[in-house]
Homo-oligomer: 336 residues x 4
C-alpha cells in the first residue's frame, strides 16, 4: 500500500486526492497547505487524512511514501528536492520546474536515490492522445510531416509566467510523447499587450531532424476557445479537437502522391489522394485516474514513468529556449 | 465606354470576362490566349469579342483601353509593362509581380504615364472584408492587438512558387487593406516535404510598430479546409470565417479590463469582459463584380484604386522578405 | 431559516443538497433514502444532516419545513401528498406526477393548506431560457409562429415511462413557460423498437389558438446528441442550441415581408427580410441554484412559484394526452 | 444518338441542357420556351439547338427522340401526355404530377406505348444517397428503425403548392429509393402563417410495416438552413447532412444491445453499444450528369429507370394523402 501525500490543496490538489483515493494499492495519508481554510476543507470531506501547514512535517510522516506536488511552478524545485531528500517518490505538477538547471538537478537526485520522479503531463493519459500515439507507433500515419497546434481563449492573465509556460506546456508535453524526439532548434515570437505583464500571446516553432516541423499558437486574449491540433503524415492526417464532445480524433485518409515524371529527371508530379475519414471510439476514463494508477504502479514496481523527469526536463528545455527566442524577437535557438 | 482586353483565358480569365461584361460603362472587346481551344471557347460564348493569340496584336487594337492580366505570375511584369507602354490601363492578377524590383518599375511606369494600375486583390472587395474595414475604421475594435490567419487545405502543389506566394498573398492583401500600415519586420519558416518542390507549408509573422503582430499559417497539405482569421482589438474581437455560409463575420464584445492596483505602483490586475456576439448582415454581391466596377470607375475618373500598384508592391515586398527569411530558417528580416 | 428535507439521494438528490446548502435563508436538515449506502454517503460529506430510511420519520422532524422530492415519478404523488398533509412545503422533481388526476389532487391539497407547491422545471431557470422569455415578453420576436424542438441522443431506455415522459417533459416545461398558453389539441406518434419496452422515439405536435404550432422530436436511439429549438416569430427568430458552449441563444433578424399586390385583391407577395444575427451574453449561474433560491423565497414570502403545481399539471396534461394519441397512432386529442 | 428536347428554359432547364450536352450518345436538338428572351439565350449560347415557342412544334421535330420537361408542376401532366402520345420518351421534373390520377394515367400511357418514363428525382443520383443505398442494401445498417429528415430555411413562398410539394418531395424521393417500400399510412400537420398562402411549414409522418417510421420537417420560414437526415438501423446509424462540405455521410457504429434477463421472462435489459464513426469518401460527379446518362441509357436499352413513373407515382401518392391529412389537422390517412 503506497501512502500518498498531496502538497498544495488549491485548484488541482482536490483532483489529485480524489483520484489517488480510488487507486487500488494506494491511499492518501496526508495533505499539506499553508491556508487553514483549505486544510479545514480536507478534514471535513476526508476525516481520515492527516493535514499539515508545513511541508517538512508532512515529509516526516512515515505513512507518506510518495508526494504529489500541486503548487505554483516557482516552488516546484525546492519542494521536490526536499521530498526526494526525505526519500519520497515524487509526482510534480507541470511545468516541471522554472529552469533547466532545476530540472536537471531533480532528475539527478531521483536517479541517484532510485526514487520515482514523474511529471503530471495529464494530457498524455487521455484516451484521445493515447489513441493518436497508437496510430503513430503502428505506422498508420506514415512519416510525420508536421504538428500544428492552436490553444487559445480568453484566459487568465498570469503575473509570473508568460503564456508559453501556461498553455504551450500542455501541447509540448503531448508533442514530446507523440513524436518521441527532441527538436534541434526552436524559435518563438509573442506580444505583451498589457504593460508590466508577460506575453499574452505567442507563436512557437520547433524544428526536428528529417523535415518534421511543429508549431504552436497560444493566446490568452482570443474571442473563442480553440483546442485544435493538425498532425500531418505521409499516409494519413489527424485532426485532434479537444472541444469536440464525441469525435475528438478524426483520421483522414488523405495525402499526396508523388510520381517521377518520365520526361525529366528532376520533374515530379504531385497528385492528391482523398479517402475515408474515420473517428475511432474513445473511452471515457478520466485521464488523471489512469495517471494516478500509473504513478502508483511505477512506485511499486520501479518501472520508469511515461512522463518521467527526463520528459519534464525536455519540455522545460524547450520552454526556456522559446522564452529566450521570444525575448530576441524570434531569433532561432539551437538545442544541444 | 471603356474597352477591356483580357489577357489569359485559363481559370480566372472567364470570371473577368463575365464580370466586366456586366459593368455599365465598359465592354469586353478583346481576349488573348495562346491556346486555340481557349480562344474557340471565347468565340462560341461571346461572338462579339475579338480574340488574339499574340498580346502585341491585342495591344494594337484601339478598342482596348485597359487590360486585365490573368496569366501565371512569372509573366506579369513583362505583360503589364508592354500594356502600360502601349498606353493601356492595367489590372493585374495577384501576386502583382515576382519581385519587388519589378513591382517598383511598374508603379513608376504607370505614374509617369498617368495610367491606372490596379492589382486584383479580390478579397478586399468582399462584403465580409469591407464590413471588417468599416468596424476598424470607425473605432469599434479599438486599438488593434493582433491579426491571426489560417488558410489551409489539401491544395494544388505548384512548381514555381512556394505556398506563401500562392496562399498567403490573399491574407496579406486583406491585412494590408485592413491594417493600413506596413510591417517593420517579417519572419517566416516553412517546410518542403516533396523533394524538388517549393515549401508546401509555412508560418509567417509580421511585426508592426505599437505592439501589433500578425501571423499567417498556410498549408497545401492539411486534411481539412480552414479559412479562419482572428482579429484582436482592445474593445472588440472578430472571428472571420470564410467557410461559414451565413455568418462569416462575428464581432465579440470581449476583452480584458486592466486596473491599476492601489497597493503597488507596478501591479496591474487584469480582468475579463464578456458581452454579446453580433454577426452583421453581409450582402451577396460578387466581389469581382464590385472590383470590376471600381477599376472602370478609376480608369474613367482617374481616382486611385483601393488596391493600386503600391498595395501590390507592399504585398510583394512582404512575400519577398518572407521567402528570404524562410530560406534562413526564420531569421527576421527588417523592412525599410 | 427554512429547513429543507431531501427525499431520494440518487442521481439528482446530491445536486439538490449541494444547491440548497448554499442558499441564504435555508439549510438542509434531513435526507431520506431507503439505501443504507446512499445515507452513509450523506453522513460522510455532510455530518450535520440527519438521515432517514423512512419518509414518515423525516416528515415528523420539526426542523424540516419543506421537502424536495427526487424519486422516480411513480412515487411522486404519494410522497408529495404525505408531505403536504404533514404541513410541509413541497418541491417535486419533473414529471410532476404520473397522471392528471394525481396532479390535480396535489394542487388542490396545497392550495387548501396554503402551502408552497413547486415543480422542478429546472430549464426555465437557465440563463438561456430566461433570456428568450425576456425577448418574447418585450415583443422582440413579435407574434409567435412556431416552436420546434429536437432532443435526441443515445439515451437510457426506461422500463416504466416512454420517451415523452423522459425527454419531452423538459421541452414542454420550457414551452409552457415561454408561450404562456395551453395548447388546444395535441397529437403524437412514436415507435417502440424493443419488444416489451415503451416507445423510444416520438413526435409530438401541440396546436394553439391563433396559428401557433409546437412540435417536439424526442429519441433515445439517435447517433448524435441534438438539443436544438427553433422559435419563429413575425419579427425575429431564435435558434436555441443547448449544446453550444458560448452562444446558446442566437437571435436572427430574419423574416418575411407580406405586401398586398395592387393588381388583385387576394394576391399577396411574400418577400424576405434578412438582417443581423445577435447572440446575447448569458450569465453562468447554475440554474438549480437560482431555482433553489426561488423556492426558498416562495416558501418564505408566500409568493407563487414560476413553476407551481399548475405548471406541473399543465405539462402532465399534455403528456397524458400525448400518450393517449400515440396509442391511437396519432389521433389528435382535444384538451379541454 | 438520342435527340433530346428540353421543354421549359427557366431555372432548371439550362442545367438539363448543359448536362445532356455532355452525355455520350445524346445531343440536345431542341428547346421550347414561351418567352422570347429565354429562347434568345439558348440561341446565343447554343447556336446549333432549334428553339420553339410552341410545344406541339417541338414534338413534331423528328430529331427529338425524348423530352425533358422542366415547367411548373401544374403543366406536367398535359405536356408529358402530349409527348408520350407523340411517341417521345419522357423525363419529368419533380413533383411528377399534381394528382395521383394524373400520375397513373401517364404510367399507363408510357407502358402501353413501351416508352421510357422517368421522373427527375435528382437526389437519388448524388454520391451521398447512392452510398447510403449501398450501406442499406448490403446489410450494414441492419433492420431500418427510422428515417428522420429536416429540410428548413428561409425559402421562397409559393402560391400554388404547399411546402410539402416544394420541399418534402425531395426527401420522399430519397426515402422511396432508400427504403424500397411504400408506407401504409401517412399523417401530416402544418400551418399557413400568411393569409391566402398555402402551408409554409409542415410535419409529415409515414408509417410502414414492421415498426419502421419516417418523419419529415419542412419549413419555408426558418432562420437557418438545415438539411439533416438521421437514419436509424439495428446495426448502424447514419447522419446525412447535405450542407456539410466534405463529410456528408457519417456512419455511426452505435446502437443498443437487448439481452433477456434471467430472473424474469418478460424483463429485457437494454444496453448501449458505441463504436467508431466513419465518413466514407464520396465522389464529386454532378448528380444531374449521372442522371442524364441513366436516362439516355434507359431510352437506348429499354432498361427501367431507377426513378421511373411508378416511383414518381408513389411520391405523389404520399404527397396527396399528406395534404389531405394536413387539411384534417393530422388525421391519419391509410394508403391502399
Amino acid at each position: 500500500m503506497v501512502g500518498i501525500g498531496v502538497i498544495g490543496y488549491g485548484y488541482w490538489g482536490p483532483n489529485l486526492v480524489r483520484n489517488f483515493a480510488q487507486v487500488a494499492g494506494a491511499r492518501v495519508t496526508a495533505v499539506c497547505d499553508q491556508r487553514a481554510e483549505r486544510r479545514a476543507l480536507v478534514e471535513q470531506v476526508y476525516p481520515s487524512i492527516q493535514t499539515y501547514a508545513d511541508v517538512a512535517d508532512l515529509l516526516r510522516n512515515p505513512a507518506v511514501d510518495a508526494v504529489a506536488i500541486a503548487t505554483p511552478v516557482s516552488s516546484h524545485f525546492e519542494l521536490a528536492l526536499m521530498a526526494l531528500q526525505a526519500g519520497k517518490h515524487v509526482l510534480v505538477e507541470k511545468p516541471f520546474t522554472a529552469t533547466v538547471i532545476q530540472a536537471e538537478r531533480l532528475v539527478e537526485e531521483a536517479e541517484r536515490r532510485g526514487l520515482t520522479l514523474m511529471v503530471d503531463h495529464t494530457f498524455i493519459f487521455t484516451s484521445a492522445v493515447r489513441k493518436i500515439k497508437e496510430l503513430i507507433d503502428n505506422g498508420t500515419l506514415g512519416t510525420l510531416y508536421y504538428y500544428d497546434s492552436v490553444r487559445v481563449n480568453l484566459g487568465l492573465f498570469q503575473n509570473d509566467v508568460n503564456v508559453l509556460w501556461d498553455l504551450a506546456v500542455h501541447d509540448l508535453s503531448i508533442m514530446d510523447y507523440l513524436v518521441g524526439a527532441m527538436p534541434t532548434m526552436v524559435a518563438a515570437t509573442g506580444m505583451a499587450h498589457v504593460p508590466g505583464k508577460p506575453e499574452n500571446m505567442a507563436y512557437l516553432t520547433c524544428y526536428f531532424a528529417h523535415n518534421l516541423i511543429a508549431h504552436f499558437h497560444v493566446n490568452w486574449m482570443a474571442p473563442v476557445k480553440i483546442r485544435q491540433t493538425l498532425i500531418g503524415g505521409s499516409e494519413k492526417m489527424i485532426v485532434y479537437d479537444d472541444i469536440e464532445m464525441s469525435e475528438k480524433v478524426k483520421v483522414y485518409d488523405k495525402g499526396i502522391i508523388v510520381s517521377e515524371s518520365e520526361d525529366a529527371v528532376y520533374q515530379r508530379h504531385v497528385g492528391y489522394r482523398t479517402g475515408d475519414m474515420w473517428a475511432p471510439r474513445l473511452d471515457n476514463i478520466e485521464a488523471l485516474r489512469i495517471e494516478a494508477e500509473h504513478f502508483v504502479e511505477c512506485v511499486t514496481t520501479g518501472r520508469r514513468p511515461l512522463s518521467d523527469g527526463h520528459a519534464g526536463l525536455r519540455v522545460v528545455r524547450i520552454l526556456e529556449a522559446a522564452s529566450q527566442s521570444m525575448a530576441q524577437r524570434g531569433q532561432p535557438i539551437a538545442l544541444s
